[in-house]
């Protein structure tokens, strides 16, 4: 096997030399302009690969922080009676000691943790860390471009994200606490400092941070779209793109269309908070005082928020879907099943994602007739989603499946996506949603379908493209430990939450003691907390494996270790700036020619044979 790969590698160089497009790149003194010193190479880099890695490592940092936060509130939910005084060295005044010296997590801090966990995971980890990483890293490499359309905007995109992170991180240390009104930040709770201490300075910084984040997403998104549309190499038509690129393209388009609406919503909220307008506020009596605001509607904010908020979940899951499609095909040694159906289902999901936002608002006080159209579109989304699942499963059929960490996480992704997607059918039906809305059933649903699944997609991508990122492999044994414990652990955490939700237990509760109906489940809550701690520890195995492998991992010895058809594996093992040292490869076929005829795989840069030309393949 090793010998054939070496042979192929030689072939790929020859093919590029023979058919490649010469843009006289080597005459531009490459490397001089961008990578002369430490700062321009590692910090203010304009190289898309370095920016991708920056997004990945920053995302990992935030995942660690956000994960720790979830452990803090899980401790409160699982062990409300336990003495938390031992957390005082870390959390200071947020651990409240009673007269007997028994410490407990203060409710303000509990809600701040819940809110920050949501904000960080949704935006910083699963949007920036996932789409930011792989869109940046893979788009130019897989479409045969030297870099992004605008490397400078790309650099700005990362640094706006970084700045957003700094602002949010700073808000954790405010004396009034970080924002604590839930990641959706519904006014009036988020608009009035009287309503919650975190709604003061904490909310101001939250708004600032997320606005900076949106700038980052927009700069990145416009770059991704431009690059994919304009800078594909010769021969790489849209129908020859790997599904990763399709996913990144559509993700960027969704982001460009929906994030500005979020900012407009934030702007009005900012006005209500600072200038005394009444977009969202009306007839409020709080803190012994009747406010002047009249005529606004908090429901308006919910519309604006969810007009982003729902497409946002597809911004999170589509890149994961793209990665999984690619990884499953490569490691099953088979073309992805139903390529066109996969593309059309991405398009259908993207289109429908803009027509379903109010399914988060069935019991918000909207007109019940309006809910009907949203039920219809929400359940229709299940159709393209189901098509994707069936296609992934069909991709495995008849394959020669390589079980490595990347592919295991892809299979795990499909399992998670099925489990979490099906519960969406309950919630999307407004009549059932009356009971399940804002209960743990919702928590279980979205954590499985978009939290855990998107993480699985990220892990699949990291294990798969790590050799391209760092010229070394991640440790496979540790990767498999990581996979099995995470798969089982994630189900142990989130599956029981369905039962809690059906029992009516509301989410975002500090404690369940007050209610007889909700107080019987302490055993289950403890179980979930213990599982969460274990899963968190297992993620550290991944982090250690990641950083250890950057410097000490097994070296990649061939250009194309997985035997993949796409262009990124025709670059040198350690890719320099500009990606290809000489000519840019041109493309002659689609990206899924696996196990065709006698060949294990046929690279996209290989021209069609005479027989293939007769058959008329794409």
């Amino acid at each position: 096997m090793a010998q054939t790969q070496v042979a192929v590698q030689d072939v790929s160089d020859q093919l590029i030399e023979k058919y490649g497009y010469d843009d006289h790149f080597h005459e531009h003194h490459h490397g001089d302009k961008f990578q002369t010193n430490f700062i321009t190479h590692y910090i203010f880099s304009m190289d898309h690969k370095m920016i991708g890695k920056q997004f990945l490592i920053t995302g990992m940092f935030w995942a660690f922080i956000g994960g720790l936060m979830s452990l803090i509130f899980r401790l409160q939910l699982g062990f409300p009676e336990e003495n938390m005084a031992w957390l005082q060295p870390f959390l200071g005044k947020w651990i409240v000691l009673n007269d007997a010296g028994i410490g407990s997590i203060s409710p303000e801090f509990y809600y701040a943790m819940v809110t920050m966990h949501g904000t960080i995971l949704v935006f910083f980890v699963l949007t920036a860390g996932l789409s930011g990483t792989f869109s940046n890293f893979l788009i130019p490499l897989q479409i045969g471009a030297r870099d992004m359309a605008s490397p400078f905007l790309n650099m700005l995109s990362y640094w706006f994200f970084f700045l957003a992170g700094v602002v949010l991180f700073f808000s954790l240390f405010l004396s009034t606490g970080a924002f604590s009104g839930g990641w959706v930040a519904y006014p009036p709770l988020s608009a009035l400092p009287q309503a919650a201490s975190g709604s003061g300075a904490g909310m101001t910084l939250w708004l600032l941070s997320l606005t900076l984040f949106v700038v980052s997403v927009l700069l990145g998104g416009i770059n991704y779209v431009t690059t994919i549309i304009n800078m594909r190499t010769k021969g790489l038509s849209m129908w020859r793109l790997p599904l990763t690129i399709w996913a990144f393209l559509i993700t960027a388009v969704i982001g460009l269309l929906s994030f500005p609406v979020l900012v407009s919503g934030f702007l009005l909220l900012f006005f209500d908070r600072s200038v005394g307008t009444s977009f969202y506020l009306s007839e409020i009596y709080i803190g012994g005082q009747a406010l002047d605001h009249v005529g606004g509607s908090p429901i308006l904010y919910q519309h604006l928020f969810w007009f982003l908020g729902h497409p946002e979940v597809y911004i999170i899951i589509l890149p994961a879907m793209g990665i999984v499609s690619e990884v499953l095909a490569i490691h099953s040694r088979k073309p992805i099943f139903g390529y066109k159906a996969m593309v059309f289902s991405i398009l259908a999901i993207a289109f429908l994602s803009f027509l379903v936002w109010a399914h988060h608002m069935f019991v918000s006080g909207i007109n019940p007739y309006m809910a009907m159209i949203f039920v219809l579109f929400t359940l229709i989304i299940a159709v393209p989603s189901a098509v994707k699942v069936f296609n992934w499963i069909a991709t495995l059929y008849g394959g020669s499946i390589r079980f490595n960490s990347a592919n295991l996480f892809s299979i795990g992704f499909v399992s998670m996506f099925i489990s979490g997607g099906l519960t969406g059918i309950f919630l999307g039906n407004s009549a059932i949603d009356i009971q399940l809305h804002d209960t743990y059933f919702v928590v279980a649903h979205f954590h499985i379908v978009m939290g855990v699944a998107a993480f699985f997609g990220t892990f699949a991508g990291v294990y798969h493209w790590f050799p391209k990122m760092y010229g070394r492999f991640m440790n496979e044994f540790l990767g498999k430990i990581h996979f099995w414990f995470t798969l089982i652990g994630a189900y142990l955490i989130f599956w029981p939450m369905h039962y809690l939700g059906i029992a009516g237990v509301p989410r975002r509760y500090y404690s369940f003691d007050t209610f007889e109906t909700f107080s019987h489940f302490s055993g289950m809550n403890q179980f979930i907390t213990i599982a969460a701690i274990l899963v968190f520890v297992v993620q550290l195995v991944f982090v250690i494996n990641f950083f250890y492998s950057i410097w000490y991992g097994k070296k990649v010895k061939v250009k194309n270790p997985w035997g993949a058809t796409t262009l990124e594996w025709t670059t040198p093992i350690n890719v320099g700036h500009g990606n290809w040292p000489g000519k840019i490869p041109t493309v002659h076929r689609w990206s899924y020619d696996y196990s065709k005829g006698e060949r294990d795989f046929i690279s996209q840069i290989e021209p069609l044979s005479e027989e293939e030309k007769k058959e008329g393949v794409h």
Binding site: I425, Q435, F477, Y499, Y509
Partner: protein, 403 residues
């Protein structure tokens, strides 16, 4: 100390993980890459099968185990008319999704196992099959269509407002940080008008006392409802969003400051009946406090509860109110024991616009006693409009004040 211990644990973890990694790498070097990959295919595909079997078993077994305890079956069947339809819809959805869940998980892990990489075996080159795509697009589409139709029918029934000449109990619930205020319209059947600017410690709902319809309105500290009678709950909030959630009745609707909402439902099981039903299940035949043999049985302590289901601040988890569903005559009796907030707290005080003026307030319960037959259909607001009750003096004062 805690910091140090945490740090040491982390260092230990790093060392252990790295050592495991190095050992596995070296073992791989000795055995050769291909061997390791084949071995991995063999073991991991089998582990996938074991996982799938255990996972499916665990999901089904746990669902069965929790059916009395948590799910909407047995003791926890819906206690409202529409709740039954909702639970049916839930079960129909569970049936379809359950089948899909089990089948797809089986096929996923089974294919992964069956088509694991084996030395010398080549994968098939199958790129697409349009007929198959059509089939698995059409089947979900049909199932979804069924669920949409069934679902929207149920939804429309639930969301129906009360009819123009229907008999119903009206009730207003106001959420605030952190509690609820229940307001009954009193004998005139009309909830008096409110102006949030008049809200104060003594006038928690900002009722306009000039409006005689407010004079008989009752503030209750629990929700009491007659069984088998439509209830229309008007919902408002005083400060931030709250959500009126009655888990046993399958009722939930947000309370929005400035935008009143409502929910109509019919309780079908009295609190007492619900307790009797619970007493049949062993999970509820235990003592409330296991250490205290004189304490009541768990089923005896049951109460319907109202909870808040929209994050409203630090006290979100404490917004509880007890809901009692009773027979109609018990409801009437309870109403008689309640007195109007105006009479108990406002009348004669500084806030009372009719201070020193004699007004007639229809005593509670009299109206309903006179024609208390259960099947009576009446529009109570028409029956006792406030103009009839207000004597001339008050009317003058009222019109003056309104100007």
């Amino acid at each position: 100390m805690v910091l140090l211990l945490t740090f040491l644990c982390l260092v230990l973890l790093v060392i252990v993980v790295i050592q495991i990694g190095r050992v596995s790498e070296m073992a791989g070097l000795i055995r050769g890459e291909e061997d390791v990959q084949n071995d991995s295919n063999y073991w991991n595909s089998r582990m996938g099968m074991v996982f799938m079997v255990l996972f499916l078993f665990a999901t089904i077994a746990s669902a069965y185990y929790y059916k009395n305890y948590m799910l909407g079956y047995g003791p926890h069947e819906a206690a409202s008319l529409h709740g039954v339809a909702m639970d049916q819809l839930f079960n129909v959805t569970l049936f379809f999704t359950g089948i899909v869940f089990v089948l797809t998980q089986i096929v996923l892990f089974w294919f992964a196992y069956k088509y694991r990489g084996v030395e010398g075996k080549k994968a098939l080159h199958i790129s697409h099959d349009n007929k198959l795509e059509l089939v698995w697009t059409a089947i979900p589409a049909v199932v979804m269509a069924i669920l949409v139709i069934f679902g929207l029918n149920t939804w429309n029934e639930i969301m129906q407002d009360v009819g123009p000449d229907e008999d119903f109990v009206e009730l207003e619930m106001t959420g605030y940080q952190f509690g609820w205020i229940a307001r009954y319209p009193g004998s005139d059947g009309v909830l008096g008008s409110r102006d949030y600017r008049q809200t104060s410690g003594t006038n928690p709902l900002g009722q306009v006392w000039e409006d005689p319809a407010n004079h008989d309105d009752i503030h209750a500290n629990e929700i009491v409802l007659p069984v088998n009678k439509k209830v229309k709950v008007r919902l408002t909030a005083r400060d931030v969003l709250h959500s009126f959630f009655l888990p046993h009745f399958r009722v939930k609707m947000d309370c929005v400051p400035g935008t009143p909402t409502f929910f109509v439902f019919t309780p079908t099981v009295t609190t007492e009946e619900y307790r009797q039903n619970l007493s049949k299940y062993p999970e509820y035949q235990v003592l409330e406090d296991p250490d205290d043999p004189s304490s009541r049985m768990l089923w005896e302590t049951f109460n319907y509860e109202l909870a808040c289901a929209e994050l409203c601040g630090t006290g979100h988890a404490s917004m509880r109110m007890i809901v009692r569903v009773v027979e109609e005559h018990e409801y009437e009796q309870w109403l008689e024991t309640q007195s109007s907030y105006y009479l108990t707290s406002i009348r004669g005080g500084d806030q009372d616009p009719f201070k020193g003026i004699d007004i007639e307030i229809d005593p509670i319960g009299e109206a309903s006693d006179e024609d208390g037959s259960e099947n009576k259909v009446s529009d109570s607001s028409e029956e006792i409009g406030f103009e009839e009750n207000v004597d001339e003096d008050t009317e003058e004062v009222f019109s003056e004040l309104m100007q």
